[in-house]
Symmetry: none
Subunit: 340 residues, 2 copies
């Protein structure tokens, strides 16, 4: 597989370039849904005319369709892109990155998509697609799946579709309400995922910043207790990873805590825990839900995050050593490898 591409690179370097070009056109159209020639040209940094040439060609091949409203990918085209996935990875040199990270942190699988989530909205979408595919791969019938919030997780939810293997699964938020905008809260995302896959969901309506008393009262509540028990016995966790300070700001933690986070060198955040460079937990959010000790029993922990700026944070969480699968993008992967 790899050899054949290496050979082709030697004998047909020009065709490999064309392949990349056509692939990226198709891929852009795929993630854009319906898109016009001019928009696409500028987003791919091509002149309109040469894009048009390629598009006409791809249309002849039946890989995309166009009507007055714009161009969209055809079913065969969509299938082709899927089949091409491994080829593209090798051709773009992503397989190397995946394997290096797997080895460096002892992970079961690493998936790297091309691009940089920080700079391209398309990469973010692709990250969502890849995250959804990873979840689909590891999920089994009757699983309880704990999810967190964040824009990346929202993107994954977007890309899930009904599938027999996920029908009847339970989606639960990993932890209580994490004061973000509603459509990126874990609760929202769990319910979207359940609806999209034909699964069921339970929510945790718990306010932020709990005091000790309120906390004790809450976990006595039978309704809440039931959900929390479900969360703690989940078989799969899929979560985003954030920069510690960014998350702290977003959650409006008080100034004291922020200072203490800084003093402790908090770098990354995931499912309510804050990690320093060495992967040690330096702080945790005061709310109910999944605890670190539950994670050890969890069979599959999937982390999804991308963007050059998050590379170091991802490396911190990986170093903590409870992840099994990582889905990230090229830019972040390169950063991660700088921190081994």
């Amino acid at each position: 597989m790899r050899e054949i591409l290496d050979i082709q690179k030697k004998l047909l370097p020009d065709l490999m370039d064309i392949m990349k070009k056509r692939y990226s056109i198709l891929h852009h159209i795929l993630v854009s849904g319906v898109v016009g020639r001019r928009t696409l040209a500028s987003s791919l940094d091509m002149t309109e005319r040469v894009l048009r040439g390629e598009v006409e060609f791809l249309k002849e091949l039946g890989l995309l369709e166009s009507d007055a409203s714009g161009m969209k990918i055809s079913e065969t085209g969509r299938q082709l892109l899927e089949d091409m996935q491994p080829i593209v990875k090798i051709a773009f040199g992503l397989t190397d990155l995946e394997e290096s990270i797997e080895k460096a942190f002892g992970l079961k699988q690493v998936i790297v998509v091309p691009g940089d989530t920080d700079t391209s909205v398309f990469t973010k979408k692709e990250l969502g697609r890849a995250g959804a595919a990873a979840l689909r791969k590891y999920v089994a019938k009757g699983d309880i799946i704990a999810v967190t919030g964040g824009s990346t997780m929202a993107q994954i939810a977007n890309n899930l579709a009904i599938s027999s293997s996920m029908k009847g699964n339970w989606f639960v938020p990993a932890r209580g309400g994490l004061g973000e905008s509603v459509d990126m809260q874990a609760n929202t995302i769990a319910s979207i995922m359940a609806k999209k896959t034909g699964g069921k969901y339970r929510l945790l309506h718990v306010p932020d910043h709990l005091g000790e008393e309120a906390y004790q009262t809450l976990i006595q509540d039978p309704q809440i207790k039931e959900v929390v028990d479900a969360v703690r016995s989940c078989r799969i966790v899929i979560h985003g990873i954030g920069d510690a300070m960014v998350m702290a700001r977003r959650r409006k933690v008080d100034a004291d805590t922020t200072r203490s986070l800084q003093a402790d060198g908090a770098l990354a955040e995931a499912f309510g825990y804050y990690f320093d460079r060495q992967g040690n937990v330096v702080h945790k959010m005061p709310t109910v839900g999944l605890r670190l000790e539950d994670l050890q029993r969890t069979e599959v922990v999937i982390g999804v995050a991308g963007g050059k700026s998050k590379g170091e944070a991802i490396a911190s969480v990986l170093r903590h050593g409870q992840e099994h699968v990582l889905v990230t993008d090229e830019a972040a992967a390169i950063e991660i490898m700088k921190h081994v």
Copy 2:
């Protein structure tokens, strides 16, 4: 290994041609030791100039060297050829088949898709795609296109899409109603193709098994006469090829005729005519529409059929000698070559 090439072919249809061209240049140089441009050109059946273009390219890639005494292969080039050995076998299997059949039956173009229609539904779909592509390639504006029935033709219709070059063309059934299930009748297929491509269609509603009287009456009918005239002046015929006995059964021909078909060694069926092993017509369906003599004026005759079991039948029709283009699959192609 094989899939990767198939995938690439979908995105870069001329990949194989170029790869083959460059490979054979290098290979020729390898076996020749040192050779000059003109010698090489004539032995590869290329014009000198185009060979020169490739040679200059290969030289830039460092795969061959040249000095005043001629060209010879470089060490990396030799290594590359060695590494390519397995690829070449797989990759050129089909191309070789295509060319052998073209030469054996004097066809303009042969397209072979991988697989066996008899055993794989994917191959059948692929055959449909390839058939549709072939039709798209040869069609011109304002053409009348005569089509036949059958599941393969239905598959082609499925794979047609609206295209400017086919807009406004006429689709007509090659011959009157061939008592098959409705969705595989020529009439149905002609109308689907017209709808899919944005063309127009005329149908021939003629019952099977016409008596001589009824026949005479029918062809007097101005409506029918108009369509029949259109059919007979078509520029393109695209048709399936069937096994004679299978078709006879499907059309419920009477026992007498069946016996006579068997006695005459009928092997294949196409557009209502039955052919024996040598390609002679041994029987024809009693219905209106395209006659063999009309076929001689037809500019493009495209036959589409696949499956190991049909190989012999396809060979019979090809031997009759009125086909220009054949679209088939690998299994059938191999069978065909056994009957040259």
